[in-house]
Each structure stands twice: as structure tokens, then as C-alpha cells.
Symmetry: C2
Subunit: 452 residues, 2 copies
């Protein structure tokens, strides 16, 4: 339905040439490649706040960090917008193989998982090779068992979307009698560190405890289960916190001529807890703030306002809806929106809002992106980050910088998501691209949805 609406709007699209000076944009781009702001922001959030799930005490420290950092970087109109965010908090976890020999497994509870009884759940494991095999099994087939879906994730586009369904299959296992659910980590890596992420419980099935185990641990269980009985003991503690709050935090570079017209960019400040949340998503915040800061340092601010938003609850949802609701009155004045939320590796292509890519006026944009190795795609942006979905559904045009994500899922949602895996040169290529595009749009009269 969303696509139909966008297509209708595209028919009346008006896209004037960018007023912004291409030479200025080129200077911004080249300066960004050697700027340390993004690296400094990324490491500051990673090291000074650490992991910061929505609803945790760390999230409040992250909020304070954000306000101080936006101030330090020279942003105006710094806003902290609270919204109700029931949350889930991990407790002690211990997953152990007890037969054929004792071995502590690398495991992490999935977000939202129900806890096990205090003494744990002890049962034999059944290893199923794929989600399709799980779904093909008869009701009751896994009565009293712990089910492991050992479906490897394929590297490359679409791999995550396909693989992640196995992380959401706890109810499929429960319907077939399982007492607990394990998924092979949704990962393209070889590391032992397990990758967490959210559960999807159906109301029609028992809510059984669910965890992810390390890729090598899944290999081990599959090997052993093919040769005999494998028994596990799971202890997963957690609690629901129904009354917690999260915050969407923002700061602005005020427009010099049309400050009421706003470009919304940013990343999310919440993270999963096993790692330091560096590629997911300190990187997005670092890229957006650094790009905006560089534009702010020009002799004159561009015409329109650039707003950097640090969304407060992406991993477990809620921020996008809260943001769209809180900004319902200004939706028509949001020129375009996008979130950076696919790590810190290089951008491969830019997807513009529906109807914009074919316009001749964008020739200078393609020339500006070319030295960065970025193509301007003929296809329109569809996915511009979960946190702008609320805006997008409400009709705000979006763009998307498509990044090289081939390494991203080696680390994503695991303990290995730290600054150690970030390549500063690639991070800065992102900053350069965002600075160019945001500057050009901000200094233009471009209207990506036509008259309204």
C-alpha cells in the first residue's frame, strides 16, 4: 500500500536543480574523508556509554551523553522526547551441554525470551537443519525436547532477511511440543560469540525460553546429535519492565532561509547488550552528526534546517512510531528523511526518493558521488532505516545510502560489535556522501513529494 501512495505522489513531483554550490559540496566531501569527528563520536559512545538497551540504566546514560555531545558539536534546539517503552532485561544466563560430555556453550538469550525456571530446563536436543524442516514437522514431534534450528545464514544481499526468520521461530517449535528453542546465530561469521536479537512469540503457542548459540556451537551440536543423544541444561533469567521510558533525542543545524523546512537524518542510540553497539549503531549517529557538523562549519548555513535524530529504541522497536506521532504536526515540512543503520562499511549506491533519480537536475550529484565510488541508482529508496518507517508511512520522502554489508552480519548483535572492527576510512566515506547529499538538498528548493 505504501508503494501505491508513493507512486501517486511521484506523478506530481517537482525537482528543481540544486541551488547548493557543487564546488562547496566537493570541498565538504574531500574534507570529510580526513575528518576525525565520526571516529571520535563512535568511540566516545562505544567506550563512554557501552551497551545501552532501551529501558536499561545505560540508556539513561546514553541520553545524557547524547545531549552533551550534541551541545559540544554545536547543535541547536536540542530536544529529548520521551516515550513509553516497556522493556526486557537480561539476567544471568548459562547454557551447558551435559551429555555426551560436559561443555559450556556460547549462548545468549534472545530479546524478550521468557526465563527458564531457576533450576533450568534439562532436555535432549533435536537439531533441525532448516526452518522449513521445523515447519514441516508434525505437531507434537518435539515433545519435551529442546529444538535447535541449525540453518546457516548466506552472505550477501537478502541473506539476513531469509535467515532471521529462524530467530522468530520459537512459537513454531513450541507448537510442536518443544520446551525451549535455540537458533544457530544469525551470522555470516565464524566466531564463537553468539548473536542476539528479538523473539516473535505468537499468542497461540506456549512462550518457551529462546536463545541463540554460537555458530561453532551449533556445528558441534549438529555433529554430536547425528551420532547420539545430546542433552542440554538451559538457565536463562530475565525480567519484563513494563514501565520504562526511552527517548528520541535531536539537535539541529538551523536553516539560513527556510528554517521550518527540515531534513531528518540520524541513527539509533540504543543497542543490544553483548557488544558495544559500535556498528549497530554508534556508526549511524557518528556519520549523521559528523556530516551535519561539517555543513554547519561552512561560512553560511544552507537554507533549510538539518536535524540529526538519535532514535531511542530501534532494536526492540517503538522509536519510529513515537517519532512520527510526536512530529505529526510538522510532517509536511519534513523534506526528506533517512537513517544510517547498516554499519560503518562503505556506501555502494544512493537511492533517491521515488521519481527523483531520473531527473537531469541530479547530474551534479552523480559527479560528486563518483570519486567516492558511489553510484546514484535509478531505483527509488524503499528501505531507509526502521526508525524512519513511521515518517515514511506518513508520506515523508526517504533516501537511502546502500552500504557494503558483507562483513556486517559477522558481528551484528554480538560481543564482537566494537570499534575494533570499524575501518575509519570507510566510515569517513559515509560521512562524505551524507555531507554532500544533505548539503545539496538543504541548500535547495527540491520538493520530493510535489505540491501539497
Amino acid at each position: 500500500m505504501r508503494i501505491v501512495v508513493l507512486a501517486a505522489l511521484a506523478a506530481s513531483l517537482v525537482v528543481p536543480a540544486f541551488a547548493g554550490d557543487a564546488a562547496t559540496a566537493a570541498r565538504l566531501r574531500d574534507a570529510a574523508l580526513n575528518d576525525s569527528t565520526a571516529w571520535d563520536v563512535l568511540t566516545s559512545l562505544s567506550y563512554e556509554v557501552g551497551p545501552r538497551p532501551a529501558g536499561s540504566p545505560a540508556a539513561a546514560r546514553a541520553r545524557d551523553w547524547a545531549v552533551a555531545k550534541l551541545k559540544e558539536l554545536g547543535f541547536s534546539n536540542i530536544r529529548v522526547e520521551p516515550f513509553a517503552k516497556p522493556s526486557w532485561r537480561r539476567g544471568a544466563e548459562d547454557v551447558e551441554m551435559t551429555a555426551p560430555f560436559p561443555l559450556k556453550l556460547a549462548a545468549v538469550g534472545l530479546g524478550g525470551s521468557k526465563p527458564t525456571p531457576k533450576k533450568g530446563i534439562a532436555a535432549d536436543v533435536v537439531v533441525v537443519n532448516s526452518l522449513a524442516d521445523l515447519k514441516a514437522a508434525q505437531m507434537g514431534a518435539f515433545k519435551g525436547k529442546i529444538v535447535l534450528v541449525d540453518q546457516p545464514m548466506k552472505r550477501g544481499l537478502g541473506g539476513y532477511g531469509e535467515a532471521v526468520e529462524a530467530r522468530y521461530a520459537e512459537s513454531e517449535a513450541a507448537k510442536r511440543g518443544a520446551v525451549a528453542y535455540l537458533t544457530r546465530s544469525i551470522s555470516t561469521g565464524t566466531g564463537r560469540a553468539p548473536h542476539t536479537g528479538h523473539t516473535h512469540y505468537d499468542d497461540g503457542a506456549a512462550k518457551i525460553p529462546a536463545a541463540a548459540i554460537g555458530v561453532p556451537d551449533a556445528d558441534l551440536l549438529a555433529y554430536l546429535a547425528a551420532r547420539g543423544v545430546v542433552r542440554l541444561r538451559l538457565k536463562l533469567a530475565s525480567k519484563e519492565q513494563p514501565k520504562t521510558v526511552a527517548w528520541n533525542i535531536s539537535g539541529e543545524i538551523l536553516g539560513s532561509e527556510k528554517p521550518d523546512e527540515v531534513i531528518v537524518i540520524g541513527g539509533h542510540i540504543d543497542s543490544w547488550d553483548p557488544g558495544l553497539g559500535s556498528i549497530d549503531d554508534a556508526a549511524g549517529i557518528a556519520i549523521a552528526t559528523a556530516a551535519a557538523k561539517m555543513i554547519a562549519a561552512l561560512p553560511q548555513h544552507p537554507k533549510r534546517t538539518i536535524r540529526v535524530v538519535l532514535w531511542g529504541s530501534e532494536e526492540t522497536g517503538g522509536a519510529a512510531k513515537a517519532y512520527a506521532a510526536a512530529h505529526a504536526a510538522e510532517l509536511a515540512r519534513i523534506v526528506v528523511a533517512s537513517e544510517s543503520d547498516l554499519g560503518s562499511d562503505r556506501i555502494l549506491k544512493l537511492e533517491l526518493p521515488e521519481g527523483a533519480a531520473g531527473k537531469l537536475e541530479f547530474a551534479s550529484l552523480a559527479d560528486l558521488m563518483k570519486p567516492l565510488g558511489i553510484a546514484v541508482s535509478p531505483e527509488a529508496a524503499k528501505d531507509a532505516g526502521s526508525d524512519v518507517e513511521g515518517l515514511q508511512k506518513a508520506g515523508v520522502p526517504v533516501f537511502s545510502f546502500v552500504q557494503d554489508s558483507s562483513r556486517y552480519f559477522d558481528y551484528h548483535h554480538s560481543a564482537d560489535d566494537t570499534p575494533a572492527i570499524v575501518d575509519q576510512a570507510q566510515l569517513n566515506q559515509n560521512v562524505a556522501a551524507w555531507a554532500v547529499l544533505v548539503y545539496l538538498v538543504a541548500d535547495s528548493d527540491a520538493d520530493f513529494r510535489g505540491k501539497h
Copy 2:
């Protein structure tokens, strides 16, 4: 001193042409590249036994696995040779930053570390950039502090030897008043998993608890310590087990003409406990057993005996000395010895025993190795694996296959050492090279130390 002895022996070297048939060697080589034995052995030990430090209950399971596996693969004269091996056993460990904010660190106690008191050690951390800086500090400089040496390991030859000295510096810290010692993991990787290894306590200093922390955790502590007070709480439990036993286990492919002349090859069966001990050193065992098994499958066994040894205590020492002592009576009959103990990645070059490389008789060897991308080095082997050091000191000639170790220290001694990081094609390149060399030497009269 060892070098002097070898040089003296080299003077009387007699190296006849290999009697072994080059065409047979080439067939062995090519078959090895497509053989599954090494992979099967590596995964069997990794998955069916798991981590197996000397002196642990798992080591006894590893011994039983070894005997059964050697039998299954067709080896003769299977021997289990016990030796006394006092050992150290890890207990519960917990290393947490308590200020400036609470964060559980990725940490692992170093082998042999003294335990902390049950309630732990709480102290501020001092981060020292290098071992040289630690040694340059005055006595008493770190009174009451936890010292972290944050010295990154360089990738490439010699990197480990230089970096590992920081793991042995607990007494240097203790002499300067430290209450506990931390080392940045001796690792070239970016993973969070900490890398263990042994301590080196001096008698002249307090024996303080010692642990390794993950590379990203060291980065974090260094970042924060540069900006304010960082406080940690360490809890490390462990116990000494003075009465434990380890076993050197071996099996033979009996020689058809001169069964008393023996070629000793192998790997070590003990491993550190965080990972599955796949590259360190199930790989060495897999390579040696697979090569010997392929030679055994020839229509006729070569003249000399090939003995595969699974040394029982490399990581914490003891096996080499025990082996040389137990085999003192047959030292003169050990033609040559070598251990595979640098992982599963490809071999780059072969170093022969002192004096052998220059001989024209080895031309066929170079031709046989060339398709594997292996050069026959003009330099003689010096390091042929810790477990043959006892034999080497007693005058047994050694050879060495020098492997590409550029990835090895990303994983070594950490939880990430599992079959998931093993490249079967590279593993088999090792098998091919070992099969060729061992076959040629076994079917020859080559005497690498001259008459005795």
C-alpha cells in the same frame, strides 16, 4: 649450545638420494588434496572431546579418543605413555569494570594464575602502553593498582614472540606494587574473545592473579583511563592439582625393511580450554595421522617405521621432556622428527635438517613440493615444534614445515579456535606435503646426522 652441536654433526652428514619413488610420492600428494581424513580427525577431536587441558577430566577422554582413533585408522603398536604432570584448573571467573560505569569485561585467567580472594580484588587500573614502559617504571610505582599492559601484537613473523612477553610480565607488575595483572590479549584479531596462555611467575616477586582481556576491552580501558579513574573488580578462581598425569600417545606404520628406524611426527592433543583446540592443535594431529594413513594404504609400506605421536602436554609444558626421557634408548634410531603445531593454514616452505638442503639429491623433493606452492628453503630447520625439543636437544635431526600463520593468532588460545575457522583445502595442502616428505624419507636410507 644446541646450534653448536648440530653444526658439528652436519660436518659428517650423509644424504643418499631418496629411494622412494617420485611418481608414488606425486600420487600420494594429489590424493591427499582430496582426502577427508584430516578434516574428519580434526572435527572428531574438536567435537567429540572438546577442550582438553592436560590434567583435566577431558584429557582422559582425549586419551581414550586417541587410542580408539589410531586403532580405527589402522595404526600398530599403539602406546599410551603416562608422565607426571602437575596441572592448574580454572574455576569461575568474573572481571568487571565498576567505574566510570559498570561493564562486564571479556576476560580469561592466564594458565597458572593465582586465584583472587573469593570476594575478588577491587582496585583502580593503570594502563601501560608497552612492556618496555612497565619495565621502565620505578619499583612501587603501581602500589595497590591493577596493571594492564596494552601492547598490541604485530601481525607477521616474529610478532608473537615479541608480544607474548607481555603475557609473562605479571612479576614485573608485582615488583612495582601491582595487586593484579592484566594483559591485552596476545592476538592479531579484533574479536572480543580473550586469549589465554601461560603465566611466568618469578620467585622473587609476589604471585599476583593474572588475566588476559579482549582486544576491544583493552582499547576501552585505555580510552577511559586516559580520561579519568577506572576501577575494576576481578574474581579469578583456580586450583593447583599437583598429582595429575598426562599421556604421550603414539601409533606406528611399521617399516617393511628397517622397522627399527623411526620417523617421528605428530601434534599435541592437549589444548587450552576456551575454544575447541582445533587449530591448536587438532590440526597437527589431523595432518600427521592423515599423512601416515595415506602412506600406509600404499601397496607396500616404506622401509622405515612412521610413528605418529600425540603429545600430551604442550600448552603447559612437560611432554617434550617426558618423551625424550622415555625414548632415550632409541634416540639413535629416530631418523628425523617434527611436529605440526601452527594451525591449519597452508605451508609456505620446508626447512630440512641442518646440511640437507644443499644436497643435489633433494631436487625431486623440490619438484614434488612446487605444485603445492611450497619452497624448499636453503635454511635449516631450527624450530620443529615444542614437543620435539627434547628429541632435538638430544641430537635427533628435525625438519619444519613453515606455515602461513597470518590468521593463526587471530584465534589462538581463544574461544574462537573451532573447526569453523579451518579451511579444509589448506589443511589438505599440509597433509599432501607431510605425506610426500615422510614417504620419501621413510623409503630411503637418508641419514641426517651422519654415522653414529
